[in-house]
């Protein structure tokens, strides 16, 4: 706790506060009251002065705490930046053709001197000296220092898994890496800057809000400044101390103090979910997103087909089909095979789940397009309809009549039919039934899309599947629209079309061919497993490479904006109670009848003013956790959100200070001398 306090004290210098006019005014007020106190000390004036200084301190503390949370993370990231010796392949940068690079002579250079375009070779146990793309070889890499994920990942040349991050460690094999960043501009450099908040620039909305706060401050400076002649005229000796206290209570100190902390904490929340936003602007834009483009595979569906249904034919018992399907899949380690076993278990149809003695497994081959198992006196096959039919014909059998119909139905619903057949002894083989394999939509996706819809966000599923399959999955998942057989160009065209209508588009992607679309989208989340080009193009990187994270990003963006609005409303609503505390206290000398306005029945004018000042300071501290955490956010329609937040922060902001000031007054009135 001492570190943030030290930081907060440093931030109290006027030069630091120039960016925060509200706190600067508080500080000026504190200086004025300090002078007034020195000239005419009393317990009251000392207390007011002390609390005004505390108000400034608490104001800077919020930002210091928010920044402090990033410091630890930055420190661990810095360890990645130690200079190591890199082995640069001389002259490789100029070579057009790649391949055979590993055999070229190398020179040893410090990693800090590598420039974009240099080519280095890295072997097992070595640290990758800079960000880059693998251009030759394949290796497992430990990226835990960056992503927090301990399982090693595979990085290989070509394709969408070629990007490596400087500072990560090669665990096996040997790769050649083309460096893509200059010193000081690496991914880790950017991460450090982000989590520390050192390069933080105010986002457009933050600037706009600051302007509103500035104008409110200006109004209150005017109000208080002109109050001097008004009081003078009314026969009340104006007190600099009291006017300064009034001013500090009226200007929006709460939001003024917490505004930058809210921004830093918003970025921090993203970082905690392993998303790195390259700019605060992107986080803000996330709150405004109207259209969400989601890749089907891995985002909406698990990305592999799973058994969903068992459909027996010709009066075959379900148990028999299940038993055969299970038996043929026990030794099948493909996800499809495992999913069949799981389905049979889940339906309670499981028989003995071990491979019997003497069984011979029939592997899947591209020519047979079947797999299966041969038991003594019994053979089971499963595979594509036509392949199984060929096998049945070979044994002299005839596929069942209704088979075609079932296969057709499954195919047209976007699924994959897997026909199961068996041959007992030398009899002709016969079809037992069909296993319906389908791309299974992840659990809870429909609910999430419903939430998105409530928030006014349209979801569009992007898939390479044909229109038939795409529509089936889109309906099942509950997305609003889909783009089937999508090429990167289609994706780009869709984004442009939406943006032309004034909509903000968010998407995620990993491949190099996604890069233009990522750059064009208002919020582009690149997967960390993706290529450098994709990571460069997007304005966020998801270290977990989890495409559903996009939904979290949108929610964090909204939460950030709501927190700002809520605390501003709270801050302004607070002023009403403060007037009821301070104005009667100031004017009651000349106009005893104004004591009617002292609705809180505060014990004395001094106690009333001090209570308001103390409340004003303490409320900042009390709200720091809220600013850092963000207000509770549950996706809902705008109207619902607004009503809720107005009730909590508007009406709450109206009532809270009446209670708070009264309680403080009860305490303060016990102090002798006030």
């Amino acid at each position: 706790m001492t570190v943030p306090f030290r930081l907060a004290l440093a931030k109290m210098s006027p030069r630091e506060l120039i960016d925060n006019p509200v706190l600067l005014v508080v500080e000026v007020g504190a200086v004025v009251t300090t002078v007034a106190t020195v000239l005419d000390p009393s317990l009251f004036s000392v207390s007011i002065t002390l609390w005004l200084w505390l108000t400034v301190l608490f104001g800077t503390l919020a930002e210091a705490v928010a920044e402090g949370r990033g410091k630890a993370q930055a420190a661990s990231l810095r360890t990645l930046q130690q200079t190591t010796t890199a082995r640069r392949i001389a002259g490789a940068a100029d070579r057009v053709a790649t391949g055979g690079l590993m055999t070229l002579p190398v020179e040893e250079v410090p990693s800090g001197s590598l420039r974009a375009g240099d080519v280095v070779v890295v072997e097992a146990g070595e640290r990758i000296p800079g960000d880059g793309d693998v251009i030759e070889g394949v290796a497992t890499v430990d990226e835990s220092a960056v992503t927090g994920e301990s399982a090693p990942v595979i990085r290989e040349s070509g394709g969408d898994r070629c990007a490596v991050t400087g500072g990560t460690v090669v665990l096996s094999d040997r790769i050649v890496v083309r460096i893509t960043s200059d010193p000081g501009h690496s991914f880790v450099d950017r991460m450090i800057a982000l989590v520390e908040g050192s390069e933080r620039q105010k986002t457009p909305n933050e600037v706009a809000l600051n302007i509103l706060l500035l104008s409110l401050t200006a109004v209150f400076v005017l109000v208080v400044a002109t109050l001097w002649p008004f009081m003078d005229y009314s026969g009340i000796q104006p007190s600099v101390l009291v006017l300064a206290a009034l001013l500090v209570c009226l200007i929006p100190t709460t939001i003024g103090a917490l505004l930058s902390a809210i921004g830093i904490a918003g970025m921090d929340r993203l970082v905690r979910r392993n998303v790195l936003a390259m700019s605060g602007r992107a986080v803000e834009a996330a709150g405004d997103v109207d259209v969400l483009l989601l890749d089907k595979t891995g985002t909406i569906t698990y990305g592999n087909r799973q058994a969903a249904e068992l459909l027996p034919v010709d009066g075959v018992a379900l148990v028999r089909l299940a038993g055969a399907a299970q038996l043929s899949s026990l030794a099948d380690e493909t996800p499809e095979g495992r999913s069949i076993v799981d389905l049979v278990h889940a339906r309670g149809l499981a028989a003995d789940a071990t491979v019997p003695e003497g069984a011979v497994l029939v592997e899947f081959t591209a020519t047979t397009r079947m797999s299966g198992i041969d038991l003594p006196g019994r053979s089971i096959r499963k595979g594509a309809g036509s392949a199984v039919a060929t096998w049945i014909h070979g044994t002299g059998g005839q596929p069942a009549g209704e088979l075609d119909e079932i296969v057709e139905r499954i195919a047209s619903s976007g699924g994959t039919p897997l026909v199961v057949a068996e041959q007992v002894g030398d009899e002709p083989a016969r079809v037992l039934g069909v296993v319906h394999l389908k791309d299974v939509v992840k659990e809870g996706m429909r609910e999430r899309f419903d939430e998105m819809r409530a928030m006014g966000i349209r979801t569009v599923m992007i898939t390479g599947d044909n229109a038939l399959t795409a529509r089936a999955i889109a309906e099942e998942a509950g997305v609003d629209d889909y783009l089937a057989e999508a090429t990167p160009e289609d994706k780009m065209a869709l984004i442009l079309k939406e943006q032309e209508g004034g909509r903000l588009v968010a998407m995620c992607g990993d491949g190099t061919n996604d890069a233009p679309a990522l750059a064009q989208a208002d919020v582009g989340v690149a997967m960390n497993t993706g290529t450098s080009a994709a990571k460069e193009a997007g304005n966020m990187v998801d270290l977990d490479s989890d495409p559903t994270k996009l939904i979290d990003v949108v929610e964090i963006g909204k939460q950030l904006l709501i927190t700002r609005g809520a605390l501003t409303t709270f801050s302004v609503a607070n002023d009403i109670a403060k007037y009821f505390a301070i104005l009667p206290a100031m004017f009651v000398v000349a106009f005893p009848q104004l004591d009617v306005l002292n609705v809180m029945a505060l014990s004395s004018p001094e106690s009333a003013i001090l209570s308001a000042v103390v409340f004003n300071a303490l409320v900042i501290v009390a709200l720091i956790p809220l600013a850092l955490r963000g207000v509770a956010y549950k996706p809902a329609a705008a109207e619902v959100l607004l009503r809720h937040n107005i009730l909590v922060y508007g009406v709450g902001g109206l009532i809270a200070p009446f209670v708070g000031i009264k309680v403080l007054d009860l305490v303060i009135s016990l102090l002798p001398g006030i």
Binding site: L212, S215, F230, D575
Partner: protein, 554 residues
């Protein structure tokens, strides 16, 4: 309690009249400000002035036109005032002093109609008719034009900052809206007994064997535009309490109706101009809530008559006309201060202290309840922008309003707008209260004295024009101070409004969705009302506490 029945009856009649006529007028207004065709007389004007009526002006050019046109008006009126003894139909009136001529010129051009002089005793017919009556029309039309420009800015998409043609808006406002209604209204007023002639002053013998000079004149024609254009400058110093201007409770009701007609219709016209009539109804709702509240409070204050003197006299009838009674006076007072009219049918100085507080607060709201013919709408829209900004954040989006983003540049303009008028009023009042020249004109000291000065500066700064009386303002100090307040109080806000209109017009419209803040629902109406009350309350409560509040609680 017997007086409560007529009080309610007159409000009921007013509401019925407005309900019948405001919606069709709104439809007509929207048509006037968007129809492509020009009428023959309008073409004549455009040719005479040398403007291209089909040119779509950039907001800067629109603003330059507004300012240029107003400057010409100020100079012309100033010249009329200084030279009136040489002009025909002058009734042998003397030239106005320089500060007085400046004040009067500014006053009429800014639609304030603050009158430091006694109309019938200082101005000849020519000055009254050509100078003041003409300005009564055009200054109102300027206000409406600015409001329409802001509505256009919101309605357009990607229009490169173009907000319409000022000259067309001005000419149409006068020829198609104000003139026809004025002609009808003047006839009605004449029927109801308002004077209209060109006679020389008549000297009549009084019952007490003395003699009295009665100045007649084109009263009805000025009366109607005085109310319709929310101007407020009376032919007579006694304004609408003068029996020649406002002879009966019925004419009183008609005048109140005329005051409210256009400001309320502009709210609905706004909805039509932005292509979403619900938006206009929401604005109308906020205006109506504020207006109804102030009428109710003011009527209560006057009829319940808190205070020692009224209690002793049996009613708060000091400064009121017997023919209007407390309710008729309260209705007029609330209406004239809630709009930027400033006509009076009773002496606001003599209102009960809470009644005086309501009139002051009405003006300090920035003339939005329902405000001047144009300033009411644009004032309300600027506050709506503040409300949208705060509530827009609270729904988790960067604030947008009718598909337009309120970003940093927009916020600067809104913030400056919100700051401008309170700054004028507070600084002006402080200046008056802390200088000998300012204090010299005071009739009373203490809380009521502060009320008097605050009222005068508030009235000038908000371009209302009504006076609290009690304060002698025809001095060089007040003529100059209030003149500057009127200028700054009108044109500073207009600069920000038009700049904002231009920025909105340049933006591309963002389509609305379920996540967009709805600005037409009851919740938004409540919020906008709340923001207006809180923003103004926080600004003015301290000084109000020292003046009418302290007085009221005595």
């Amino acid at each position: 309690m017997s007086s409560l029945v007529p009080a309610l009856l007159q409000v009921a009649a007013l509401v019925a009249l407005l309900a019948l006529t405001v919606p069709p007028l709104a439809r007509y207004l929207a048509h006037v400000y968007s129809a492509p065709r020009h009428l023959a007389p309008e073409r004549v004007v455009y040719r005479a002035v040398g403007v291209d009526p089909d040119a779509d002006q950039h907001w800067r050019s629109y603003l330059t036109s507004v300012l240029g046109f107003s400057l010409v008006g100020v100079l012309a009126l100033y010249a009329f005032g200084r030279l009136q003894q040489h002009l025909p139909l002058s009734l042998a009136m003397e030239a106005l002093p320089a500060d007085g001529a400046f004040n009067t010129a500014v006053s009429f051009v800014t639609n304030t109609n603050w009158q430091w002089y006694s109309g019938e005793a200082a101005l000849g017919h020519l000055m009254q008719m050509t100078g003041l009556t003409v300005q009564n029309f055009v200054s109102a039309a300027v206000g409406m034009a600015v409001a329409v420009a802001l509505a256009r800015g919101l309605a357009r998409s990607g229009a490169q900052g173009r907000v319409g043609n000022f000259w067309v808006d001005l000419v149409r406002g006068v020829l198609r809206v104000l003139l026809p209604i004025s002609v009808l209204g003047a006839l009605v007023l004449v029927v109801l007994g308002v004077v209209q002639n060109f006679d020389a002053p008549q000297v009549v013998g009084t019952l007490a064997d003395g003699s009295q000079t009665l100045t007649g004149g084109p009263v009805a024609s000025q009366e109607v535009i005085k109310e319709l254009g929310t101007n407020g400058g009376g032919f007579y110093n006694a304004n609408s309490s003068h029996p020649f201007e406002n002879p009966s409770p019925l004419s009183n009701l008609v005048e109140v109706y005329l005051i409210l007609l256009i400001p309320l219709a502009m709210a609905l016209a706004f909805g039509r101009l932005v292509g979403d009539r619900r938006q206009g109804r929401a604005v109308l709702a906020v205006m109506s809530i504020l207006l109804a509240t102030s009428i109710g409070l003011l009527t209560w204050a006057e009829m319940a008559a808190p205070g020692a003197a009224p209690a002793a006299a049996g009613g708060a009838m000091e400064g009121k006309e017997v023919r209007f009674g407390e309710a008729g006076s309260a209705l007029f007072a609330a209406t004239t201060t809630g709009t930027s009219t400033g006509a009076v049918n009773s002496m606001h100085d003599s209102l009960t202290a809470p009644g005086g507080l309501v009139t002051l607060f009405n003006m300090q709201l920035g003339e939005i309840a329902p405000g001047g013919v144009g300033s009411g709408l644009y004032g309300m829209l600027m506050l709506a922008a503040v409300t949208v900004f705060l509530s827009g954040l609270m729904v988790g989006r960067t604030p947008e309003w009718l598909g337009k983003k309120i970003g940093q540049r927009e916020m600067v303009l809104v913030a400056l707008y919100v700051l401008a008028t309170p700054a004028v009023v507070l600084v002006g009042t402080a200046l008056a209260i802390s200088t000998d020249a300012g204090l010299a004109g005071q009739q009373e000291s203490g809380a009521h004295g502060l009320s008097e000065v605050l009222y005068a500066v508030t009235s000038a700064g908000n371009n209302n024009g009504s006076a609290f009386a009690g304060l002698t303002t025809g001095t060089p100090f007040y003529n100059t101070l209030l003149g500057v307040c009127m200028l700054a109080g009108l044109f500073l806000p207009i600069v920000f409004v038009l700049a904002l209109a231009g920025r909105f017009a340049a933006q591309h419209r963002v389509p609305a969705g379920a996540g967009t803040l709805p600005t037409h629902k009851p919740l938004f109406v409540i919020l906008l009302t709340g923001v207006a009350l809180v923003v103004v309350g926080l600004t003015f409560v301290p000084v109000l506490a020292l003046a009418p509040i302290a007085e009221a609680l005595q």
